[in-house]
């Protein structure tokens, strides 16, 4: 089969990339051929973005080699990659809003080194746009353009630099459906010229529409590869989420009274789009409700809305029969909600503070730590020491938290929240990026809380984790809960389909 193909434009061989605490790429082989749309499919954390950052010169691999048209190369920077004909269309656009389209296209490009001739540049950009049927006024200011148009500027930029391999990192995440159609038309024209497109996505339906070949990554490895003709949604979903049968060595839920009720909540995300769009769920005392879903489908925003950190557009949240919608986060905590946020470096912990100061982050205002208007050192230390001992955190009390390993940081965070004696615990990706031992420690804590009658809402993108711990499994997709099953009746393939948007009724 390889003989029938033209030679590969780019080949990656045995790529390994290690980050502190994580093996992002564990020996990946990948070839990219002219004229193809190669879809790179996988959950977040599967290693897609790391691999593409290596290919676009942002990271250097720890092991393995890159070949461009057969020649071995070392890519030291994005500029190196661009010179070899590899260009990246970023998910978050890197454009200067106060510059025109033409100026943005030119930005960082080598061609006119000394003298800028505005007329010539305009003409060149216009011609380039016309050739690729990208309708854009080169004199328009980028700040005035829609999201779809800005993406076209990014594409034009990459084409202007003569790229033969274009990497699209989740290009549809920010687009409305008609814009997706025109993007796909553009991609087809690009590969029609003998270029190659790498299309990174975790949306099955889109991959099936545009790809000519599909590679699925999982846990930093190639889980499977097939031409579009052989791919089915079921096959891909299974490859993406894996098939490990989780072990559940525990007693059935002693489900108690209703603790958390969320009804028809909608909320905006960081960049203003509707991240949560009518989500409803309930969690009872003594059960773990797992929310599966690919990250970025509104889980974080939903959890923050429940915790009172994000204001909802509509909908209600009840905690133990109390309507806590739009109540301050402090009050919701006082009513018994503990929250493990997604980002321990920016939210859950203060990296510059030591272990003691982090241990009191969510209980500093209460006795015995605050009494008589003073913050008492001794009870704070006692509290911190208790957490460190009970949850086997490898750290001295005076160590700044930024000096701890990721596993110990997360243990401290989870321990602190578990120690609040909560009625409801919302845990957002509590084991993301952790090693095996710390993951198990966190799981033990969650199960222990459940045994003590805490209502646990567990959001995770690792389906194995959700299935292993939960009593009920929900699937969140595009801001809604699209699927619910008791864990005992959960079907991995079915959940995989819902997670990737295929299972959603039209």
């Amino acid at each position: 089969m390889a003989d029938a193909r033209p030679p590969a434009l780019v080949e990656l061989r045995g790529i390994v990339k290690v980050f502190p605490g994580a093996l992002a790429n564990a020996g990946i082989d990948l070839a990219i051929y002219p004229g193809e749309v190669l879809a790179l499919l996988g959950e977040n954390g599967a290693g897609k973005t790391t691999l593409m950052n290596i290919l676009s010169g942002l990271y250097r691999p720890d092991e393995g080699e890159i070949r461009v048209v057969g020649e071995r190369v070392v890519l030291r920077s994005p500029r190196d990659a661009i010179e070899r004909g590899i260009g990246m269309v970023h998910q978050h656009f890197r454009l200067v809003e106060r510059f025109t389209v033409a100026e943005n296209v030119l930005l960082g490009s080598h061609t006119p080194r000394f003298r800028l001739s505005p007329g010539q540049v305009l003409e060149h950009v216009r011609a380039l746009g016309a050739r690729h049927e990208i309708a854009l006024d080169p004199r328009a200011y980028v700040g005035d353009l829609s999201v779809g148009e800005r993406q076209r500027v990014e594409i034009l930029k990459v084409l202007y630099r003569g790229s033969r391999v274009l990497i699209f990192d989740e290009p549809t995440a920010v687009l409305a459906p008609p814009e997706v159609d025109s993007l796909f038309a553009g991609i087809r024209r690009i590969v029609g010229e003998g270029r190659a497109v790498v299309f990174i996505s975790h949306k099955l339906d889109e991959v099936l529409r545009i790809a000519t070949r599909i590679v699925v990554l999982r846990h930093g490895r190639v889980a499977g590869a097939m031409p579009r003709a052989e791919a089915t949604p079921g096959k891909l979903a299974t490859l993406m989420v894996g098939r490990e049968i989780p072990s559940r060595p525990r007693v059935a839920a002693a489900r108690g009274s209703l603790r958390l009720r969320v009804e028809d909540v909608a909320a905006r995300g960081e960049r203003g789009y509707l991240a949560v769009d009518g989500a409803s769920l309930t969690v009872h005392s003594g059960e773990i409700v797992g929310v599966a879903g690919v990250a970025g489908n509104g889980q974080a925003e939903l959890a923050e809305t429940i915790a009172g950190i994000r204001a909802p557009l509509r909908g209600r949240v009840w905690l133990d029969e109390h309507d806590v919608t739009t109540r301050p986060a402090r009050e919701i905590r006082e009513r018994g909600l503990a929250f493990i946020p997604e980002d321990r470096h920016r939210q859950g912990l203060v990296p510059a503070f030591n272990v003691v100061e982090n241990a009191i982050l969510t209980c500093y205002a209460r006795a015995p730590i605050s009494r008589g208007g003073l913050l008492r050192r001794r009870p704070a230390r006692t509290h911190a020491r208790r957490l460190v001992e009970a949850f086997q955190i490898q750290a001295s009390l005076e160590t700044p938290v930024r000096a701890l390993s990721g596993g110990n940081q997360q243990r401290l965070l989870v321990a602190r929240e578990a120690a609040q004696e909560p009625k409801v615990l919302v845990a957002l990706h509590p084991t993301a990026g952790l090693d095996v031992a710390s993951t198990e420690a966190v799981h033990r804590i969650l199960l222990e809380l459940r045994a003590r009658g805490v209502a646990v809402l567990l959001v995770s993108e690792h389906l194995d984790e959700v299935l292993a711990l939960s009593d009920r499994v929900l699937v969140m997709y595009r801001g809604r809960i699209v699927h619910e099953r008791p864990a005992s009746h959960a079907d991995v393939d079915e959940i995989g389909l819902y997670m990737t948007g295929v299972g959603e009724p039209p």
Binding site: V18, P20, G21, A307, G308, I309, P328, A329, R330, E331, I332, R333, F339, P341, D343, R346, Q347, G348, L349, V350, P351, A352, F353, E357, I360, L361, T362, Y364, A365, S370, G373, L374, L375, R377, Q394, A395, S396, T399, P400, R402, A403, L404, S405, G407, N408, D435, V436, A437, S438
Partner: protein, 368 residues
């Protein structure tokens, strides 16, 4: 299995030198380097740097009079430094200590000029109160838009300094002008009851204010829930929101408290040293405070010696002037110290990051 995974969890090796010692060393190195750089500049100008520095040292600390003058200048420096320390700790870049000092001085002077015959026991506390209030209100002007709509406080606090100077001009050329001063731009002198008592020599009660304020600020930041909130907001705004801290309210309170401290500095200046309102109430104390706070690593206790050092630098500069070396050398040294310490800090941060990364990589490599 358990042992293999535990290997990943061993804590990062302790740095050989504690971090706070490193911080002090970086600062000392910055000061030495700044003196060296300025020595070269002095040489190029044809001055003997060692002689110049010796003159400066004598002018700053070489006699009883010199020490008194240095302590006198350390008072407003300490108070304004405490003020900006509060806001910097909260992650608010209040560059407006100079203006807050000025308005505090005007508020206190208003009482002194309008009720000169009140007894000192009423007048002085009243002036202290108005000084605090004036500074606090001036700081709230930029704090409110910062708290509610997120307006950048760097620009607004800085620009309000110039507004405050214009208010002084307006008053000393206008309604507050001394009718007996032949149109010189200053107010009449304060009555004796509006003058702070002297502790020793020329050093007035303001020194007690400054030291008391140091204790209060240090205690507030280190030993109250509010201080913990302020430090959290500065170190990680996301964590402050996550923990449900009253972020908006804390911005207002921190800015007001900061302005009040600078306002108190202004009150002490007019009531303890100048005894009237005139142009040039402050030779840039509010700006030096930013440098001092930074050098003191936002530690209120450390701010005391650093403020005295900077006051000495200021006096040393004046002493140099008599030997024809321009006093601007003071500001050159100040600027060079700030620049080099900041550079040293970022270098240190880089070294620490590299160390941490190497340690983690080693731990991970060992486990694989």
């Amino acid at each position: 299995m358990a042992d293999a995974t535990l290997a990943i969890e061993r804590p990062a090796p302790r740095p050989r030198i504690p971090e706070w010692v490193e911080a002090i060393l970086v600062r000392l190195a910055g000061i030495v380097a700044a003196l060296l750089v300025c020595a070269v500049l002095l040489l190029l100008q044809g001055y003997h740097p060692l002689l110049a520095y010796a003159d400066m040292a004598v002018g700053a600390f070489g006699s009883r009079f010199a020490i008194e003058q240095t302590l006198l200048k350390a008072i407003p420096l300490m108070l304004t430094t405490l003020g900006v320390t509060l806001t910097f700790t909260a992650g608010l870049w209040n560059i407006g200590a100079e203006g807050q000092l000025t308005i505090g001085a005007l508020a206190a002077a208003w009482l002194a000029l309008n009720h000169p015959s009140l007894p000192a026991l009423v007048l002085l506390p009243g002036m202290v109160l108005l000084g605090l209030l004036g500074g606090a209100l001036w700081a709230l002007v930029p704090a409110v838009p910062r708290a509610y709509v997120g307006m950048n406080e760097v620009i607004s606090t800085l620009l309000l300094n110039y507004v405050a100077l214009l208010v002084v001009d307006y008053l000393v050329f206008g309604s507050w002008a001394d009718p007996t001063a032949f149109n010189f731009p200053y107010s009449p002198a304060f009555s004796d009851t509006a003058r702070l008592p002297m502790l020793f020599g020329d050093v007035h009660l303001g020194l007690v204010f400054a030291l008391a304020a140091t204790v209060v600020v240090a205690a507030a930041l280190g030993h109250t829930p509010w201080g913990y909130e302020i430090r959290t907001s500065g170190a990680s705004p996301g964590a402050a929101r996550y923990a449900g801290m009253p972020v908006t309210r804390n911005i207002l309170v921190a800015m007001a408290a900061s302005g009040a401290l600078s306002g108190l500095a202004g009150m002490a200046e007019v009531s303890g040293m100048i005894f009237r309102v005139q142009q040039g109430l402050s030779p840039g104390y509010g700006y030096s405070a930013i440098i001092i706070a930074w050098l003191a690593k936002l530690n209120p206790w450390a701010a005391v010696p650093v403020a005295i050092l900077f006051a000495g630098l200021l006096n040393g500069g004046f002493a140099l002037q008599t030997s024809k070396v321009p006093a601007a050398i003071t500001y050159m040294i100040q600027a060079a110290i700030l620049f080099l310490v900041v550079a040293g800090e970022s270098l240190l941060a880089r070294v620490r990051r590299a160390r941490a990364a190497a340690a983690q990589k080693a731990a991970l490599g060992g486990a694989r």
